[in-house]
Symmetry: C2
Subunit: 342 residues, 2 copies
């Protein structure tokens, strides 16, 4: 009853050979008809396309990829797909990729170095380039990746590998100044994953900014960069005297606020909270979160563009000026989670 083609083996997809046979041309002509139209007679090409369509032929990237490795595929590896931080990034990265004729594969590393390595091992050979968004890999491992495929890292600086990063220092300074301006003198920082490059930068900037302004600074954690991590942070906060806190990211900040509410601590009356990233949800949580905003949308676009540059200019040696990190500005979005010190 099924609509099986006339070709013998029904289970296997048609190839250029099938098309060639039916169309009465050589396989190479079929190949050309698809890979470089124009290099083949219009009529012939027409016939080939018609036959191909009838047979349900599709060119196979895997076969096509073998000779030259061109698969028109890029990959972005994110630390945690469920972190809204990546939304805009992935979106914009995808758009940029598509506009240039590439398809973007999204790979989730589950905040795990092992998972990230495994996923890369499997994916890397399939793609022409890769964006590592907030990777948990070691610098050496990242350089190894970069040796296999054009690579761009995000939110991290690795020698000789092109990168796109937020200006964490600037953002953190704005946050601390904001809190200082509200009269807070004892601040705490809720640390993120130890393996996070961004966490290191943020904590350092926090320490420096507080120092310069003569404020007391304290580091709590590390906490998981999730709502749950924020819940633990809330617990930890109650045993400290800080009147304002800056969280590693918005997820932690939101989790912290929820935890504090449960513990009877009111935000911002009893404690001011600042997040990082301005993610989806940070404006409709209660209270709306004051946070350091990165231009998330540009992030993905920038990263993919740098990747495309590498793809187009394979001549350029790895350690060209190309790899100087692109610094994206950060600004403070003031909302309801911060207030004058009681």
């Amino acid at each position: 009853m099924g609509e099986t083609g006339e070709t013998g083996s029904s289970s296997t997809r048609p190839t250029i050979y099938d098309v060639a046979r039916v169309a009465g041309v050589a396989p190479s002509t079929v190949s050309r008809a698809f890979s470089r139209p124009g290099r083949v007679n219009a009529d012939t090409a027409d016939r080939i396309r018609r036959v191909a369509h009838e047979l349900g032929y599709r060119t196979s990237p895997i076969g096509r990829g073998l000779p030259d490795g061109r698969t028109a595929l890029l990959a972005i590896v994110v630390a945690d797909l469920t972190n809204p931080f990546f939304f805009e990034i992935i979106r914009s990265a995808e758009k940029t990729a598509i506009d240039s004729g590439y398809t973007l594969l999204v790979v989730d590393a589950h905040e795990s170095r092992g998972a990230e390595r495994l996923a890369l091992e499997r994916t890397l050979p399939l793609v022409e380039g890769v964006v590592l968004a907030t990777s948990r890999l070691s610098d050496a491992a990242i350089r190894a990746v970069a040796k296999q495929r054009p690579t761009v890292v995000m939110n991290r600086v690795v020698t000789d590998v092109p990168s796109v990063v937020t200006d964490n220092a600037q953002g953190m300074r704005r946050a601390v100044e904001h809190l200082a301006g509200l009269g807070h003198t004892r601040l705490s920082y809720l640390a993120g994953p130890e393996a996070s490059w961004a966490d290191g930068m943020r904590w350092r900037a926090f320490r420096e900014a507080t120092q310069e302004l003569g404020l007391r600074a304290r580091r709590l954690g590390p906490f998981a960069p999730t709502l749950a991590g924020g819940l633990s942070a809330a617990q930890a906060l109650t045993t400290h005297t800080a009147t304002a806190t800056v969280a590693y990211n918005d997820l932690v900040a939101i989790g912290t606020m929820r935890g504090l509410t449960r513990l009877g601590v009111e935000v911002p009356r009893d404690l001011s909270v600042v997040g990082f990233d301005n993610i989806f949800g940070s404006d409709f949580c209660t209270p709306p979160l004051t946070t350091v905003a990165s231009p998330l949308r540009h992030f993905g676009t920038f990263a993919v563009q740098r990747l495309l540059n590498q793809l187009r200019a394979p001549s350029a040696a790895p350690s060209t000026g190309l790899s100087a990190p692109a610094l994206l500005p950060a600004k403070l979005v003031e909302r309801g989670s911060t207030a004058r010190r009681a």
Copy 2:
């Protein structure tokens, strides 16, 4: 200065041939050493592995995939990656895949039929199976996909294609009963995308449930299944007399609540709002959203398991009982966005 190996071409990655030459064995032996350890002398295998490591050799899935199509890759195509609805689904799907030795590729269709088709075209040949989560493709197109690769669809029923769906009817009934119990008699439904199968099911169930309970039912929309869509919905709601509304999904519901707030309509005092899906954020928005919850976590697991079943039992004809849709229960989570009619 660079640490280039002794092999001539530095730009190209080593192959089994390189390893074979250095190790003094045949290429096929190298292949065996990796693809089926045990079928080769332990010492030989050891030597091969050592050489391979030194040379930086990695087996290429693309080469490996050619002969038999086995890439250990699965794909999940989602309508919109930034929709929190997919978080748990992707997470659990990934876990299930990894546990079975597969890597899961995540592909975003951007709520666009064209994008979905293009992405599938490129991805399908690379993967061994695919999960279509809330696809916007036509039934015919989905069947065509299923012909190329083992396929499981989610939140949709397509003849002859295995699927996993929420019990929309049951969930909607619960929602309507809940509202009726609160004294509401005039309800509205905020419709989602026309191409959405789930939207069709939900609207139908809404109409039936309201009818049976003798309530007035009205359909507004369609709206984009996003926060922005909800904002438009809020506008539309103000011109109607319903005192309670059920949204196509949580995103629309949350957007609606925000829009209503801006318009001076208070939820739930002036209007009760119910969502669908119980996504990330639905518990910390203001007010917390009453919503129909699907067992998101089981969703991904189920889907991938069905896929794996197909992969393991290639003998079973497509239209076996295997393709009967798996119905996952839905329950109502009552929170603050619904209240007794004023």
